[in-house]
């Protein structure tokens, strides 16, 4: 029956393909790394693909994983074949319902891309901490180890649950399997039908609730019956293992791919055996086979069925010869006797009466830590010891509790007959996309086996990517990164001089280098280390100026197809003519839908590539005297030198346990030490044209251009190229003024140039800020910026007008983040830190702002010269408002405690006026805060002479007397969807917290899924045909309370209103909500126009600007002030500039017209409503109406 059709897909697609075809309903919510599974199903449904019963499944995006599993539960209870996809915290949110789903014996499979649960830190990568948290739910748990198995087990799970009525948690390793591209055999619809018993599907439907056959579930039971009723399911669990094996056998008969509940591999007479689960098994199996061939008596049990754990089958799988076992868990349970699978194995052996002299447990691979053949061998070597350490770790150096075992890191089993290629690229250059293409070309046009895995750094702009590609005659299972590369491609020349990209190049390997120089000049531009490695490793070196080729054919920086052609030429995987035809075919397939011009230019790029490829005659000796520059400045703090710099160099795996704090605390003020140099062009200031409005500084997403006023004498040691002019306005007349670019932080987004209003009257194309080549200006501007940074910032209490312009003279305490070039969110955050940074506590919902805010190695929050700055943390996605409220409760308690101590110590302090001022402080301005800090210092001075425990306590907590500014940051996915319930409650609490919603109208961080903020007519994932329902009016809902300060702001449209709203919100002694329009790459246009689009949104009425201030009622004024004037632009003109809207117009113009009209109608109604609200009469007390508006 098997058609042996192969496809090259990743694990997510492999699992989703079966899930989609064998279900009717999918309720989903995006979470990394499982999001693509839901996205695939949505795309297939839009394309009207059917399941095996000829139906198009219904895909429903929910507001959270808790919501998704609720909808799943309901669909199951109504008898539909239903599935969902999730990971990590999402899975944890499903747990309450999983108990119900299992308790009610629903046939159901959920597919989980296993991911680390956040503890001391969040991690998007893989371990089994999430699935292990589900052990008690009553789900069958089946683990896939590879892309092929993710496909196969998706089907086996579905067959098993129908037969057993026990739901199945089918899981595979996040990223390592979910995102690995591999060539697999695809199951046909007929094969699916062969495994899915329609009678059981019908039985599932009939068990569903129906008024035609009334029944009741979900009862409340009492001590008299609950226990017995709970035990009634036992027989069903008892037979699950047998059913799983039977379905595996049926599957094997159909496909030839045979699986056991517990698969043993290795020597039949193995004495040392390891037991593990997941993708680690693949590298372990390769290693065992390698070592068994050399005579080692070792083996492994691959655990596939983890729950119900079948003791009989498990024990039977252990060879009789086994003398020692190491159970490897990919999770950590602090405080437990051992990790879960270790405990299961101990219990299983005990219950089976099987004697194995040594059984130990170990941990490996947390958060996708590499699990290499060297580590596998290390575990076997460890088992050989007389008294091997129990509860060990492998893959790290634990120099604190000494639990890690040693291994020979140089051991590897790479197959010399395979091509092992490493590609170093940038996200924007398309390297990963082209490599995925290459894998498919080779996988689908040759009999070779293929594997691709892609590693990204933590930045969203200028991200470095490393592609690991293997091609070979034998199936490729290895789940670890390439150890020795036979081919290394460096797609960005700067990388070879910044990082050790040749470290993994094998002797005699091929090096392909994109270099912006003539071929004969390339060698001279390499640093000494690179030259030496090329010579010592005898690398065959080829170069191409791919950027020039791309530029010549109109492809900008997209060099990927050019480099792809060179790879095929040099690797000889295919005859070059055939390869070129296949590349062009792939280009047509990939890009034809995006436009013929794109196809033409890509093909032109490929055609031009090989004639520009040159082999370099490598000199016998290194000629360069330049060394690779240090990763970080020698002046950086010690921790950054010892830890952060190692991580930045890509060597974080080498750091020992002692390098880290045990609670995840991390110093701020690190990103400013990172010099990324990712811009092609940077802004250069023209002082004589500048009108000193500071807008360039205001809008910069990366704090890479700053304004400063200072006294002239500060210029004494200025570099010759440092630019300075007289400050023009009266507030600081007599001072000097400078706009300075941070050339190594700039991302080249162009927003500053776009916003600059000052033009040369004789040549208006020249502004006061103009982009110029980075390479020509970086050295000079680096010196200038270094000097600029050391000029003391202006005394903030002297700034008379704290508006958009004035705010830019304040020291920013946020900068150099890894956010996207042109990001629409980060400027808001930076302005907040300029205004309140030295008093800020920030609670940050998971999402873009938590990633660019807290993703290591470097983070963007800074400290001022006094050592103060924002203190930041991320709890979860769903609980951020509550988390921030907790800050406020604590801060208030700390202040109350300090006040109580002050009162208690009033006598010895003996300064009633000071105490009264400290207690009654109502600071609102920088001068007020400075005065209060001064009072605190006076207090401390007096406390020194008081010898009492209370005095020491007060000394320690006196800073609590300075009002703290609690901020809650998050995106619209949090505020409108998953966190809305909590946000609503926190706003209703009346407590003094400030909420900043960075509204991109879409789930940006996980790749553009629709939220309830997504506007009508916009395409987003899960709203591919264009969202039909209007955006939720979060501001209006908050206003309805009456006591919440609410503002809707847009930096591009009205910058002064932004700053005013921030100041008002912070000063308001109750809850405040600011909703900030944030343009985003998910809107589909060049973000250099982001501020223009914001203006269009406001002009069209789509994004009204307003401030609702409950305090105004006290002055008998209407609380709502509209800050945007009447509609003066069309909604259509706004929509026409963004691909998210144009996509709908292109696909279905008539539908788009209706949606655009609906949007315009909704906009007009909303603006009208706001206008009416802003004109309400507020009546004073005594007229019978109270003071309510």
């Amino acid at each position: 029956m098997s058609q042996k059709t192969t496809m090259t897909v990743d694990g997510n697609e492999a699992a989703a393909s079966v899930a989609y075809r064998t279900n009717q309903v999918m309720a989903i919510y995006p979470i990394t790394p499982s999001s693509p599974m839901g996205e695939f199903t949505d795309e297939w449904a839009v394309a009207k693909k059917t399941n095996i019963w000829g139906q198009i499944p219904l895909i429903q995006e929910m507001q959270s994983e808790g919501g998704a599993v609720g909808a799943v539960h309901g669909a199951l209870q109504a008898g539909a074949m239903t599935t969902t996809f999730t990971a990590s915290q999402g899975l944890l949110l499903m747990i309450p319902n999983m108990f119900k789903i299992a308790g009610e014996m629903n046939s159901f499979v959920m597919h989980v891309a296993a991911r680390t649960v956040a503890t001391h830190a969040l991690s998007i990568f893989c371990d089994h901490s999430d699935v292990m948290a589900c052990r008690g739910t009553g789900f069958t748990m089946l683990c896939s180890n590879s892309v092929q198995e993710a496909h196969d087990f998706a089907l086996i799970s579905q067959a098993v649950t129908l037969e057993s009525r026990i739901p199945v948690l089918h899981f595979f390793d996040g990223f390592r399997t979910s995102h690995e591209v591999n060539k697999i055999n695809i199951l046909s619809d007929d094969e699916l039908r062969h495994m899915i018993d329609d009678d059981l599907v019908e039985a599932h439907r009939l068990r569903g609730l129906s008024p035609d056959a009334p029944k009741l579930r979900g009862t409340a039971q009492n001590p008299d019956v609950f226990f017995q009723a709970r035990e009634a399911c036992n027989p069903y669990y008892d037979v699950v293992p047998g059913m799983v094996q039977a379905q595996m056998d049926k599957f094997a008969e159909m496909t030839g791919r045979s699986y056991k509940l517990y698969d043993y591999v290795g020597a039949p007479d193995a004495e040392r055996v390891i037991i593990l689960m997941g993708s680690g098994c693949t590298s372990a199996e390769d290693t065992i086979n390698y070592l068994v061939e050399k005579g080692e008596k070792i083996g492994m049990i691959k655990v596939r069925l983890y729950r119900p754990f079948d003791i009989e089958s498990f024990v039977a799988a252990i060879p009789d010869s086994c003398k020692s076992i190491a159970v490897l868990d990919r999770t950590k349970e602090p405080g437990a006797i051992g990790e879960p699978m270790y405990l299961d194995v101990i219990t299983a052996l005990r219950e089976a009466g099987r004697e194995v002299p040594t059984v130990i447990g170990g941990r490996y691979g947390l958060s996708s830590k590499q699990f290499t053949p060297a580590m596998v061998k290390g575990v076997f070597d460890h088992l050989s010891q007389d008294k091997p350490m129990n509860h060990f770790t492998v893959g790290i150096v634990d120099d604190v509790t000494r639990k890690s075992i040693d291994y020979d890191a140089n051991f590897d089993i790479e197959d010399d007959n395979s091509v092992r290629a490493l590609f170093f690229g940038l996200g924007a250059d398309g390297t990963v996309g082209a490599n995925k293409n290459s894998i498919k070309i080779i996988g689908e046009n040759t009999d070779r086996h293929v594997q691709g895995y892609f590693v990204y750094d933590s930045k969203k702009s200028g991200a470095r990517t490393i592609s690991h590609l293997r091609f070979g005659p034998k199936p490729i299972c290895a789940s670890h990164l390439i150890d020795r590369a036979s081919f290394v491609a460096v797609h960005q020349f700067s990388q070879i001089n910044q990082f050790d990209v040749l470290e993994l190049a094998d002797e005699g390997a091929t090096l392909l280098l994109n270099a912006p120089y003539e071929a004969d000049a390339v060698w001279g531009h390499l640093n000494k280390e690179a030259q030496q490695q090329i010579i010592e490793k005898k690398l065959k070196m080829f170069v191409i100026d791919a950027d020039r080729v791309a530029q010549d054919v109109g492809m900008g920086r997209r060099i990927n197809t050019i480099m792809q052609a060179c790879f095929f030429k040099l690797s000889n995987v295919l005859p070059i003519d055939e390869a070129m035809d296949l590349i062009k075919g792939a280009i047509k397939k990939t890009y034809m839908r995006k436009g013929e011009e794109i196809v033409k230019r890509n093909i032109a790029a490929v055609d031009e590539s090989l004639s520009h490829l040159h082999e370099i005659d490598v000199p016998a000796e290194a000629t360069s005297t330049e060394s690779r520059p240090p990763i970080i400045s020698a002046e950086a703090p010690d921790f950054l030198q010892r830890v952060t710099a190692v991580m930045m160099a890509g060597q974080g795996d080498l750091l020992p346990v002692s390098a880290f704090t045990p609670d995840g605390t991390w110093p701020t003020d690190s990103a400013r030490w990172e010099r990324r140099n990712i811009a092609v062009d940077i802004p250069i200031w023209e002082p004589e044209l500048c009108i000193q409005c500071n807008k360039c500084s205001l809008v910069c997403p990366h704090t890479a251009i700053r304004a400063m006023v200072y006294e002239e004498d500060k210029l004494a040691d200025a570099p010759g190229s440092f630019k300075s002019v007289d400050y023009k306005a009266p507030d600081f007349r007599g001072l000097k003024f400078t706009i300075q670019v941070a050339p190594e932080d700039c991302t080249g987004c162009n927003l500053c140039v776009g916003v600059c209003p000052a033009k040369d009257k004789s040549n208006p194309s020249r502004k006061a800020i103009n982009m110029a080549p980075h390479i020509e200006h970086v050295d000079r501007e680096r010196d200038n910026y270094e000097f600029f940074e050391n000029i003391p910032p202006v005394d903030r209490t002297k700034i008379k007008r704290l508006d958009a312009k004035g705010s830019q003279f304040l020291l920013p305490l946020f900068g150099s983040s890894g956010a996207c070039a042109g990001c629409g969110e980060t400027a808001y955050i930076r302005i907040l830190t300029q205004l309140f940074g030295d008093r800020m506590l920030i609670a940050n919902a998971t999402g873009c702002s938590s990633i660019y805010g807290g993703n290591l190695p470097t983070t963007p929050y800074l400290v001022n010269p006094e050592g103060r700055g924002p203190s930041w943390s991320n709890s979860l996605f769903e609980d951020n408002a509550e988390f921030g409220l907790g800050y406020r409760l604590a801060v208030d308690q700390h202040r109350d405690k300090a006040v109580a101590l002050l009162q208690k110590l009033a006598e010895p302090i003996a300064d009633g006026a000071l105490i009264e001022e400290l207690i009654n402080d109502e600071s609102h301005s920088d001068a007020d805060y400075a005065a209060q800090r001064e009072r605190v210092e006076q207090l401390r001075s007096k406390l020194k002479s008081i010898d009492s425990p209370e005095a020491r306590l007060l000394d320690a907590c006196a800073d609590a007397l300075v009002r703290k500014s609690v901020w809650i940051f998050g995106g619209d996915g949090w505020a409108y969807d998953i966190g809305y319930g909590g946000l609503d409650h926190v706003l209703a609490s009346g407590r003094d917290v400030n909420v900043m919603v960075l509204d991109t109208e879409v789930y940006s961080n996980t790749g553009g899924q629709a939220s309830k903020s997504t506007p009508v007519g916009a395409a987003a994932k899960f709203a591919i045909a264009g969202k039909e329902i209007a955006k939720k009016d979060l501001g209006l809902m908050a206003m309805s309370y009456g006591h919440v300060y609410v503002a809707s702001v847009s930096l591009g449209a009205k910058d002064n209103q932004v700053v005013k709203a921030m100041l008002e919100a912070e000063a308001y002694p109750g809850p405040s909500l600011i909703i900030a329009y944030s343009h985003c790459i998910a809107h589909g246009y060049d973000l250099k126009y982001g501020l223009d689009q914001q203006t269009r949104a406001v002009d069209s009425g789509v994004w009204p600007l307003y401030r609702y201030d409950p305090r105004r009622v006290q002055q008998l004024e209407t609380p709502l002030q509209l800050d945007s004037t009447k509609i003066k632009g069309s909604v259509h003109d706004y929509m026409a500039n963004e691909a998210r809207f144009r996509m709908i117009e292109k696909m279905n113009p008539q539908r788009f017209k209706k949606l655009a009209e609906a949007s315009a109608d909704h906009t007009a109604r909303r603006v009208n409503l706001y206008q009416q609200l802003s004109q309400l009469q507020v009546h004073g007390a005594g007229n019978g109406n109270g003071k309510d508006a």
């Binding site: 998007i124 390297t431 991200a463 890009y591 436009g595 011009e597 009257k761 987003a1020 060049d1086």
Partner: protein, 331 residues
Amino acid sequence: MIDTKTQYLGFDLPHPFVPGASPMADDLDMVRRLEDAGAPMITLRSLFEEQIVGEQMANFHATAEPAESFAEATSYLPEPEDFAFGPYEYLEHVRKVRDAVDIPVVGSLNGATPGGWLEHAKLIEDAGANALELNIYDVAADPSLDAATVEQRTISMVEQVKARLTIPVAVKLSPFYTSMANFAQQLDETKVDAMVIFNRFYQPDIDVEELEIARMLQLSDSSELRLRLRWLAILSPHVKAKLAVTGGVHTPIDAVKAVMCGASTVQLVSSLLHHGPGFLKAMREQFAQWLESHEYTSLEQMRGSMNMQRSGNPSALERANYMQILQSWQM
């Protein structure tokens, strides 16, 4: 009933009033209303190759560059199979308009490259257009190109399109040619089926506060007709191609003048945008009434009566006309 029939692009039309290329035809309901108002033919808005290419590349860079850059998101927008930034939306519209009305549908094209003109012309024909108007919307701003080269580029393009297409082809011209009569003669030799005179370019204005070019398009008025009357009158005796006038026809008398100077059809855009589709019916009726009241038996009787060959005062259409007016003013 007076005979107002005319021929244009191979079709027998009951009268000469044709809705010209404009956004009106973007909407199927409006197209039907125009047909109901008696439009004998409909010309669609131009497909601009340059705009399509620009949008494709802008979208490509805006969506492809952030993709495959970050572990949590390998893309940021959905990629539905039936979405493309190409001419497909336009071609689909051609099909829909063809299906919606019984009158001939004329596609309109502004190409940017030799290949683009040919390729898109063929696509519009394949989509079912009954004829094609080539919109020569080209400002000759390159100082390195001489007049002959500019003209030859257009002639060559029209020749190729004519050779490739089976449907009739019109060429919509601008008035800015060094030797319009000669150029029209060359075009005529390509056997192009019609010439439309003249294109109205977007009129750039200057925002003196912002120091920016402001793009403007104002609706035409009758004063713009005079330039067109002159060239209709000059060209109509010499070219075999049918002539259509566009720009400045706002009254029945305007139409009478255009026909008298040699136009086979008059294209209405500004007046329809201003007054709505019902205006076409009124124009048609008042035009017929004028002919009747002036005892014309047919449109053909009137067509070309005031052209340079037949008007009895051809010099009035040439430079002498200019001189005389100036002289009369001086007097």
